[in-house]
């Protein structure tokens, strides 16, 4: 069955982005058109969600057209339970990003919105591609708008940050490209399903896994290739930080689940200790690093790295769970946790960056020491900030709890010490987030800048309110999300645990 719904989701924002760009100096028109396009894109996710059957692992809403017969590469797109939540997240996050920039972006406004819309389309393309070459096409093309966003609208060291961001990601990606080409030469087919099904020797799998890992570990980012992220986050404009944290990082996790593990499952089994070690270092060490940050955005950036450590940890736990318990039952729990953590972190980190943006618009500083006692002047904002901080430290009842809890539980099944180390995040995460809240939100009014702060206006309230509702909703009722992924996660677990040798 061919449907054009996904194509619309990809191309509407891209084409719309160019239209917005064409508006040029007509700023108000550009704003409203951008908002309209992003809202329509989000609305298109409704039929996608409603028509999706989570009980099977099959790709749905497929569209399959010839693209490059010479390479046997096809324009084939579709969604399964892993891609769908991420696509909805992408469409969902773009709307607040557009609204949040309403008054705070004054330079090259139309281009700002255009860049975000084009990027939205490309990111949805990444998540819905069923062809590896198409995936790579979107994956790399996405770098261009982000490069421009950080470079044009970023802070003082934006050029350093954006070049570092581009080159890091590019370097990781080219190894993935070599791996893809290598496999294509054997299968003569770029479809992801064919690559997942092809037989590979352990030696081949090892190199392919590492090549993919190079691309995805940079994107996640995992320690020790994370250093581009704090720079990029600090320098990026608020919207750039939100998209970066909420969606782009998820592509690394998505890539692990879609490519690295199912294509090279035996290498995954062999190298899982390596991945787990790096993940735990991210959780523990980066947690400590976050503790000492002076800059709010940097703190949240490091906290993102720590939280993404849970995603990579959960992704590879299946092997050890089977090893420890002897049965594949419950092996998918780590993957469930990884997925929930991705969605939840997307919402929470996005919200945290928006909160920083709200304060930055008023005081023009990201230094923690420039604030203090914000709640005295901005009670509503303070409430939101406290809620998101609680979610960030994994308070039960918020979405942050569900993902972390699932991963820690799965880690317990695998090995007590994994769980023990991973669980330190409950202390560390609470420590750095709550200490941030204490210094920024509570206490006496820090200085005259803070004293002049005005509470959130209707626009900001709307943005933060919607995010707050979704964070809480996902926290108390994660069942719809888990149902959506059920079939796909089961299938993925089988693929990961099966051997290709």
């Amino acid at each position: 069955m061919q449907t054009t719904l996904l194509s619309l989701l990809i191309w509407l924002p891209i084409v719309g982005g160019f239209l917005v760009m064409a508006l040029g100096a007509r700023v108000a028109a550009a704003r409203w058109l951008a908002l309209l396009i992003s809202v329509v894109t989000l609305a298109l996710c409704v039929p996608l969600y409603a028509g999706f059957d989570g009980s099977t692992a099959a790709f749905q809403f497929q569209q399959n057209l010839p693209w490059i017969p010479a390479f046997n590469a096809r324009y084939s797109i579709g969604v399964d339970g892993i891609a769908l939540p991420l696509i909805i997240l992408t469409a969902f996050i773009t709307v607040p990003v557009i609204i949040a920039a309403w008054t705070s972006v004054t330079k090259r406004v139309a281009q700002y919105y255009a860049a975000f819309l084009i990027m939205e389309g490309l990111m949805i393309g990444v998540f819905s591609a069923m062809d590896a070459l198409l995936f790579y096409f979107f994956w790399e093309a996405m770098l261009i708008p982000m490069f421009l966003i950080i470079g044009i609208w970023g802070g003082p060291r934006r050029i350093y940050a954006t070049i570092k961001f581009f080159l890091y990601t590019f370097l990781g990606s080219v190894f993935m490209l070599v791996a893809l080409v290598y496999m294509y030469l054997q299968t003569q087919d770029y479809s992801i399903a064919a690559l997942q099904a092809m037989p590979l020797t352990l030696e081949e799998q090892r190199w392919i896994f590492l090549a993919f890992f190079a691309a995805f570990a940079v994107k996640v980012p995992m320690w020790p290739v994370h250093t581009w992220l704090p720079d990029a986050h600090v320098e990026a404009p608020t919207g750039g930080s939100v998209v970066l944290a909420a969606i782009m990082l998820k592509m690394g996790g998505y890539g692990l689940l879609r490519f690295a593990l199912p294509i090279a499952p035996d290498a995954g089994r062999e190298l899982d200790g390596f991945v787990i070690t790096l993940s735990l270092i991210a959780v523990v060490y980066i947690g400590f690093v976050a503790l000492v940050q002076q800059d709010m955005k940097k703190l949240i950036a490091y906290s993102s790295i720590a939280h993404m450590g849970f995603v990579t940890l959960g992704a590879v736990l299946a092997y050890d769970i089977v090893g420890a318990t002897g049965s594949p039952a419950g092996a998918g729990m780590g993957l469930d946790g990884a997925m929930v953590q991705m969605i939840s972190h997307g919402l929470i980190s996005g919200a945290m960056f928006l909160c920083v943006g709200v304060m930055y618009d008023r005081v023009h500083s990201r230094e923690i020491s420039a604030y203090g006692g914000v709640i005295n002047k901005m009670p509503i904002f303070g409430a939101f900030m406290v809620l998101f901080s609680m979610a960030n430290s994994g308070l039960p009842g918020t979405s942050g709890f569900v993902g972390e809890f699932l991963v820690v539980l799965a880690a317990f099944k695998a090995n007590f010490w994994y769980a023990a180390l991973a669980a330190t995040t409950l202390i560390l995460g609470a420590a750095y987030t709550l200490w941030l809240v204490k210094r920024v939100i509570f206490g006496k009014v820090g200085n005259h800048h803070v004293a002049e702060m005005k509470d959130v206006d209707g626009r900001e309230f709307l943005v933060l309110g919607v995010l707050a509702v979704s964070v809480v909703l996902l926290g108390v009722w994660p069942a719809p999300l888990l149902d959506m992924m059920r079939g796909s996660i089961e299938h993925l677990t089988q693929m990961i645990l099966a051997t290709k040798l």
Binding site: P69, A141, L148, G151, F170, V174, V181
Partner: protein, 478 residues
């Protein structure tokens, strides 16, 4: 020797161009003394008609005619169409520039046409003599074009360097050919393999070394690249554009006719040599380009790195490799034309926009030029959705298919290094404030063609199939 009508029909592009060249020369002498712009218009017309003629040639299969001197196949037809078209674009872009510099003379166009004739002859060479005639026709015209601004000292210096080094390269080519002739007793490229036998010995290796270095010189590969940056910088920018673009097709033809067709059975010998040259070119070109402050010199080193990629296609030594090299060459010429066009439009009387700093804040001064330049830079860096990505992808595919994993890895890592200096151009244009605000030339016609050129870089990146399939069809085994 007898000619048949068929043979004349097959050689029509050359016959047409030679005739047209004489017409242009005479026209310039009698009708364009007051207004050299007329010659330019006539030349463009000639080129467009030529492109149509060359593309309309229906050549079902490879035919060797004119006593074994000349080959007509689908590759030659494609190369000729491309050469006509790209020359037309280059001359169109150069028109205002030449007029402003006061060097818009009829001879410029005549020399460009003789250079083009050299390209056509090379594309159809089936004999070493034809090949050599093509090379010399092209090279001598280019030397003169580089020196065209006779009042400019740097141009004269660049031309001198180019000429002396080029003469040495022609010498090595002749020397290599003469050794081959001594060993086989034939100048016919098609008969070489059979006469050389299985183990040709040391003399053959020597001959190959000479020929490969001559080809590397014409391409501008390391270590025969010394002339490239000096010519790019010293020559009038319009001439540099001529040197940088269309002759790349000729170099491809030369390498393909000589190595891939003539010495196919000896692939292991020459592909090893090319592998070294290509690797060094890709690494050195990309690294040295980072240190440049002049956009033209940066483009020169970028050309050297890109030539390395084209040679990688030959290193693969398969039909797929050659067709990917062809694709790369065409894509590269298309991108380079746009890049030079932007430099030409941005330069004004007395101030040539050849330094990187001239491009600071270009986006605020002229969004179209900046957008086109950004597209070209991302494309050359190999980022989708631009045509350069597919060019690089194909080369990597060909390298891996022929078992050159290490070379493929070197190629991709070098292209990441290269991405830095392409990004720097984007950064200067988009992230920096303009240092000066003088208005840029209007040139509506040029802008239109430039926009189409840049859109082609994008469109071929989104829908690469047509050109890909074409490049595969024209090369046997591609």
């Amino acid at each position: 020797m007898t000619f048949t009508t068929n043979e004349i029909w097959l050689a029509l592009p050359e016959i047409y161009l030679t005739t047209a060249l004489c017409v242009v020369l005479l026209f310039d002498l009698f009708f364009a003394t007051k207004n050299p712009g007329r010659t330019a218009t006539l030349t463009l017309l000639v080129l467009v008609v030529g492109a149509v003629l060359a593309s309309r040639q229906v050549i079902a299969d490879r035919q060797v005619i004119l006593g074994g001197m000349y080959v007509a196949d689908r590759l030659s037809s494609l190369l000729k169409t491309g050469a006509f078209l790209f020359t037309a674009m280059a001359l169109f872009y150069s028109r205002d520039y030449l007029a402003r510099r006061g060097i818009q003379k009829g001879e410029y166009y005549v020399l460009s046409l003789t250079a083009l004739l050299g390209v056509l002859v090379l594309a159809s060479a089936a004999n070493m003599v034809t090949l050599y005639v093509g090379v010399e026709l092209l090279s001598l015209s280019l030397y003169a074009l580089v020196a065209f601004d006779r009042d400019s000292g740097v141009a004269a210096e660049a031309a001198m360097k180019y000429f002396v080094l080029g003469a040495i390269a022609s010498g090595t080519l002749l020397y290599g050919m003469s050794i081959l002739y001594g060993m086989t007793g034939t100048l016919d490229l098609g008969a070489l393999t059979a006469r050389l036998g299985d183990s040709p010995g040391l003399g053959f290796t020597l001959a190959i070394a000479f020929i490969v270095s001559a080809i590397a010189f014409k391409f501008g590969a390391v270590p025969f690249h010394m002339w490239v940056p000096d010519v790019y910088q010293g020559a009038p920018t319009a001439s540099a554009m001529m040197v940088a673009t269309v002759p790349k097709l000729a170099s491809f033809a030369m390498a393909f006719r000589f190595l891939a067709e003539g010495l196919m059975a000896q692939t292991p010998q020459w592909s090893q040599m090319l592998a070294i040259l290509a690797t060094v070119s890709v690494i050195a070109g990309n690294l040295i380009a980072i240190a440049q402050t002049s956009l033209l010199r940066m483009l020169a080193y970028s050309a050297i790195a890109n030539v390395g990629f084209i040679l990688f296609g030959f290193v693969a030594g398969s039909g797929a490799g050659f067709s990917s090299a062809l694709y790369y060459t065409i894509a590269y010429v298309l991108m380079t034309l746009a890049a030079f066009a932007i430099v030409l439009i941005s330069s004004r009387d007395g101030c040539e926009a050849t330094e990187l700093d001239h491009f600071k804040g270009l986006h605020q001064r002229d969004p179209l030029l900046a957008g086109a330049m950004a597209a070209v830079m991302f494309s050359t860096a190999g980022v989708p959705p631009f045509v350069g990505f597919w060019a690089k992808l194909q080369i990597i595919q060909a390298l891996l298919a022929s078992g050159h994993l290490t070379l493929a890895l070197i190629a991709v890592v070098a292209s990441v290094v290269g991405a830095f200096y392409y990004l720097r151009v984007v950064w200067l244009m988009y992230f920096e404030a303009p240092a000066e605000q003088p208005p840029l030339g209007k040139a509506p016609g040029m802008r239109l063609v430039l926009a189409i050129n840049a859109l082609a870089v994008l469109a071929l990146g989104i829908m690469p199939e047509q050109l890909l399939a074409l490049c595969r069809q024209v090369i046997p085994g591609g």
